[in-house]
């Protein structure tokens, strides 16, 4: 039996619509689908990754809600529907907000939020300003939290099992030893912990494992060094999975 571990960013690429990595991480999954069904390989996921993915969904939602509230606050006193005057005021508010932001990513996000509001205005021209904005915040949150379900469906389709790693195992000298070694090559605390849990798990099961990630900076650049210490794992980009299974 071979075990595969997906890094949090692989799951995020799978579930987040329009993620540039989506097709790249979907491909190896499809390639090994038959082997999963035959029980020759197993995808596992530590609780920690599970919570990281869900926390990221929450965080995305909270950022949006915070930002959207600021826009709402500047528009809530507009009476009636989005008449031409109200639309011009809305444009002014958005332009001012975008003007004050220097970060391109946040600017882009504000453009998309503006487009979403405009779309809602055009679809419901008679709706009161506050109702249009309420629709938008409701729709965003609905779609964003459905990502939790998307993640669940990947778990069901690929029969992904959670690695049970209770808190007390963190004090196991064997785990501490692995973690200390991993930390020498992996700076990010969360990544080091995920990889250490996986190594501990595959050693317990006397198996071999593959860590799949597209994080160059924290993981892939150190993969060769880590594999030299831990010869029971590979740390690879998604495209290598099929090649290393056989």
């Amino acid at each position: 039996m071979k075990y595969i571990l997906f890094d949090t960013n692989v799951y995020l690429a799978l579930i987040f619509p329009l993620d540039t990595w989506k097709t790249i991480v979907e491909e190896p999954l499809e390639e090994v689908f038959d082997l999963i069904k035959k029980g020759e390989i197993k995808i596992v996921c530590p609780d920690f990754v599970f919570y990281e993915v869900n926390n990221r969904i929450d965080w995305t939602s909270e950022k949006f809600n915070e930002e959207f509230y600021q826009i709402y606050n500047e528009l809530k006193n507009l009476n009636g529907p989005f008449t031409k005057n109200n639309i011009l005021y809305f444009r002014k508010v958005m332009e001012h907000r975008i003007f004050t932001i220097k970060d391109t990513k946040i600017r882009n996000r504000l453009y998309y939020i503006e487009s979403l509001i405009l779309k809602e205005i055009k679809e419901n021209p008679k709706l009161q300003v506050v109702d249009v904005l309420t629709n938008c915040i409701e729709l965003f949150n609905e779609i964003n939290v459905r990502l939790v379900g998307e993640y669940a469906n990947y778990n069901i389709k690929y029969e992904i099992d959670k690695i049970n790693f209770p808190k007390n195992k963190e004090n196991d000298p064997e785990f501490i030893k692995i973690l200390d070694e991993v930390k020498k090559s992996v700076n990010k605390e969360a990544d080091a912990k995920i990889i250490s849990i996986f190594i501990y798990f595959i050693r317990e099961n006397k198996a071999k494992g593959i860590v799949v990630t597209h994080d160059f900076e924290h993981l892939l650049l150190n993969s060769i060094a880590l594999e030299a210490i831990f010869d029971d794992i590979f740390i690879v980009r998604p495209g290598y999975v099929k090649c290393l299974i056989n």
């Binding site: 909270e62 979403l116 904005l133 459905r146």
Partner: protein, 337 residues
């Protein structure tokens, strides 16, 4: 039993339609005597009797839920627990007594009554079919009931959307923590997912019943299957109940800390006091709500895995195609966050 809270901000002061519509759903899975009727045909008076029993039970339950919450939450110093208890008791009495009087005085069946009636008839017909092997009545009722399932779940979904919408307004008007909107959306989402799951189980039961009618299935098999379904539902129903009680706790806490006088207590509010609510206990309730919704979510994943079915209510399997353009915009917002 599956219920939707009437004490969420949207439902304050009235009983949502969904309450009376979804209450009896659980009993279909494992036929048991709901009321002691000898005949399959129920008349208006008999139905009224059942509805009144349901309302009385709900009244008592809601009253107790409130009193238990007051015992454990932090009450604002300007109120005493006796004042809060009295006001709660009065409000519950007023809401439910109005509903009870309305039910007593009603002369005709409403749509929800018809749904309830069909559910009762089906329960009864299953029992008769099981005990006597008479299948003709069952066939007609299965067809009727199939149509009602869809209406019933639409009604529940609408109610939940309207609750979420009201919470959305409260969030925007009251400047609450962004966590509030996120966790409320997650909670409503998982409850809707649960109802999608329930609908899917109901449809399995109906298919099984059809097998009996065509002679391809056996009553023993049906009994075994429905027993397994009922066991699955029971676990989720209890989790849903925890979630609803937590939502009521959140609602009560927000209400109390935003009411300056007894007169305002438990009365409909458009704006909540964000300064008073920026405290540890408020965030504790929000975190508990999130934890409970995730618990239920994981249980649904587990059950979906066992049944080898998709997790219900994701946008890939349940999203209106006409909203694709908005979906793309939202995807871009998510991606740029």
């Amino acid at each position: 039993m599956a219920t939707v809270s009437s004490q969420t901000p949207s439902g304050k002061g009235k009983l949502p339609k969904a309450i009376t519509s979804i209450l009896p759903l659980g009993s279909i899975f494992y036929p048991k005597e709901t009321v002691d009727f000898e005949e399959l045909d129920f008349d208006v008076e008999e139905l009224k009797k059942l509805k009144l029993e349901i309302l009385e039970e709900l009244k008592e339950n809601f009253h107790d839920i409130g009193l238990n919450i007051f015992k454990k939450i932090q009450i604002p110093p300007w109120f005493t627990i006796d004042i809060v208890n009295d006001k709660w008791t009065n409000m519950i009495n007023r809401i439910f007594n109005e509903a009870i009087i309305k039910t007593k005085n009603s002369k005709e069946l409403t749509d929800e009554d018809r749904l309830l009636l069909d559910q009762l008839k089906l329960n009864r017909a299953i029992e008769i079919a099981i005990n006597t092997n008479k299948k003709t009545i069952l066939k007609r009722l299965i067809d009727n009931y199939k149509n009602h399932i869809s209406d019933s779940f639409n009604l529940i979904e609408e109610t939940l959307y309207s609750i979420r919408r009201n919470y959305g307004k409260i969030f925007l008007d009251s400047n609450l923590s962004p966590k509030f909107m996120t966790y409320i959306s997650k909670t409503i989402n998982v409850i809707i997912s649960y109802f999608y799951y329930l609908k899917s189980e109901l449809n399995s039961v109906l298919s099984e019943l059809r097998h009996i009618l065509t002679g391809r299935g056996s009553i023993d098999h049906f009994k075994k299957d429905t027993k397994a379904i009922f066991a699955r539902i029971l676990i989720l129903d209890l989790k849903q109940l925890d979630l609803l009680i937590k939502m009521i706790e959140l609602d009560i806490f927000m209400d109390m800390w935003s009411s300056e006088t007894v007169e305002e207590l438990f009365e409909s509010k458009k704006i909540y006091n964000s300064k008073n609510l920026d405290n540890e206990y408020f965030y504790k309730i929000l975190n508990d709500l999130n934890k409970n919704s995730m618990d239920m979510h994981f249980e649904l994943i587990k059950i979906s895995k066992e049944r080898k079915k998709d997790f219900p209510f994701t946008f890939s399997n349940n999203f209106d195609i006409k909203d694709q353009e908005k979906m793309e915009l939202i995807s871009r917002i998510i991606y740029s966050t």
